[in-house]
Symmetry: C2
Subunit: 355 residues, 2 copies
């Protein structure tokens, strides 16, 4: 076991979006400073950080100086280029570790990993090329979804096959990117478990949340989720199995489909997760502080849920509703300080609290 | 009524200590940026701010550039030099306004103001010089406390008179500073009300907290405080009277002595207050966000208390207890990131939550 970070240490965060921003605030509560590395100008996380480096992930000098200023480095998104991680890791520890990143950066690797762990996943097939598609469609059928192996999020890089005849168009939509075909899962709803694992190997899970998507983007997460006691236990055990298999340190999100045949893992995210934002107003220690505690060698905090909460994302023009939301009782507002409002851009969220 | 700040505006904060730090975090939740002005190096608020100016309050160019970058300016302590405020105010609004600062910067002015409002205060007398002392001691008697009119906090600038014979020593302790003599109030306990007033003149008060001091520094604040229903109403009405009289915008702390004869105002602070830190873990909207909402022209937020909380300050070597505090369930830790631990220095606090 490694030593905990000294008080006042600096935590490096790769990525300066809203997740980095809320991680940075959580780090401050524990007395840590943060240093944000982000290619884009005026990153939301930079408004609440001790230092910001604005540079591309290819800038080796900037990466070295960044790594040199940090006592540990974490990330808010899983698609950090491998070469940048290699460079940073030569100087300072990255947590969670590289294995979790490697696995979750690629849908094929991720699905294979989960399956080998004995967890249920949707039927899937590797689609390296057009030739593979025919056999896969024959086996998995339709409806199904073709997804790029890498860089997909918020519904990007996906194409649906309603019938096998959609195969050509779906393949064309991938623009030649390696993909996987996923069989359609007939689920009643989606839940996610936000789980954490510490230096000492202790595991803690927040109460599962129930997710509703709109236009491929998370719309609301509600706790408690509709789950039987047995499903709740299953969900937590599945998350723990993933964390332990990865020797994981930090917070990880696991999306699960609820089906009559049991829980099916949709995907995992090796980071704090949009579906865990409710914890800010439903737990003494939220997912952001839990992540900071884990990667800093602190014991995990008290994530017991003390209220019913519905988190709603504010996307694009939802920002016009802020003045009215500001008047709602028992509604906590969290805005991200993004300079420009765009359609489909996550601009903030609210947590509606029912006690 | 002035216009609310635009989304993404910058709030200037005079003072970079823990109050500025927690104000800055609250501002980020509402999508605002902050700019900290602080003479000392490495200010705690700077770890979570968009910009920091390190300069003395006499640096006119620095003050002008600071004011120029801000859409409104507030402060975390009441002893900002008047000349600096004049310079800033020539460019940008200061909230709360100058009148509240003028009154609370001087114990004599403050006590006179409160008395003229019809509120009960301890008997007091102006002590401009040695000659005044004799008459005051004859009138107010002992036990009593001699306090400097300006710049006192955490028990600094105070000398007790146990008997009238202590008068000479007490006066010598003032080092020639103008002072007031305050009669001893026989109170059972101290409470404080954290109150807020918005642009629109709406007033909201957090539930009063009960304060315990150690060595002249706040040790704990507990909610609910021991108060009868009538006392609770009185406390809130007194706070509202002060806010309205000052046409106040922002959060203000009112310390009250609970006595058999009723509530007596000890002092007021025109800012967020240590005794309001419990709100971070007991209310949907805490005192820091309430202040930011008020000065930004937002409606006041929901400060309803949803849990019993005891806030305990971590002072000096209390920091050695952090590893053990980190293991406590239902305890929220808030550290200030101060570079050096010193005796009597406030290093952080914990909120122990009882639901």
């Amino acid at each position: 076991m490694t030593k905990p970070l000294a008080l006042g240490s600096t935590i490096g965060i790769l990525g300066g979006g809203q997740l980095g921003r809320m991680l940075s605030v959580a780090a401050s509560r524990l007395g840590f400073k943060t240093h944000i590395f982000e290619p884009g100008a005026n990153p939301p996380a930079g408004h609440v950080a001790d230092a910001v480096t604005t540079a591309p992930y290819e800038d080796e000098n900037a990466l070295r100086a960044f790594a040199n200023s940090c006592d540990v480095v974490t990330f808010e998104f899983e698609n950090v280029p491998t070469a940048a991680l290699d460079l940073i890791e030569a100087q300072v520890a990255i947590r969670p570790g590289r294995e979790a990143l490697r696995i979750s950066q690629d849908r094929l690797t991720e699905k294979t990993f989960l399956q080998e762990l004995g967890l249920n996943v949707a039927p899937f097939a590797d689609i390296p090329d057009r030739a593979a598609m025919e056999g896969a469609v024959a086996e998995i059928g339709a409806p199904s979804i073709l997804k790029t192996r890498r860089f997909g999020y918020d519904g990007k890089g996906q194409a649906r096959l309603r019938t096998p005849q959609d195969a050509d168009q779906a393949l064309a939509d991938m623009n030649g990117a390696p993909a996987i075909l996923e069989g359609f899962v007939d689920f009643s709803h989606e839940v996610s478990v936000i789980a954490a694992r510490s230096f000492a190997g202790e595991v803690a899970c927040f109460d599962p949340g129930e997710n509703v998507h709109r236009n491929g983007i998370l719309h609301t997460t509600t706790v408690p989720a509709r789950l039987s006691a047995a499903q709740r236990t299953d969900a937590v055990l599945m998350a723990a199995r993933i964390l332990n298999a990865l020797d994981y340190i930090g917070v990880l999100g696991v999306e699960l489909f609820v089906t009559p045949r049991g829980l099916i893992v949709n995907e995992i995210a090796p980071r704090v997760h949009n579906s865990g934002h409710w914890t800010q107003n439903g737990c003494t220690v939220d997912q952001f502080e839990q992540h900071i505690r884990a990667i800093s060698g602190w014991p995990l905090g008290d994530g017991t849920r003390y209220a019913d909460v519905t988190m709603e994302n504010l996307i694009g023009d939802d920002m016009d509703r802020v003045p009215e939301l500001a008047r709602e009782a028992t509604t906590a507002i969290h805005l991200y300080g993004k300079a420009e409002t765009k359609p489909r851009r996550k601009m903030g969220h609210v947590n509606r609290i029912m006690r």
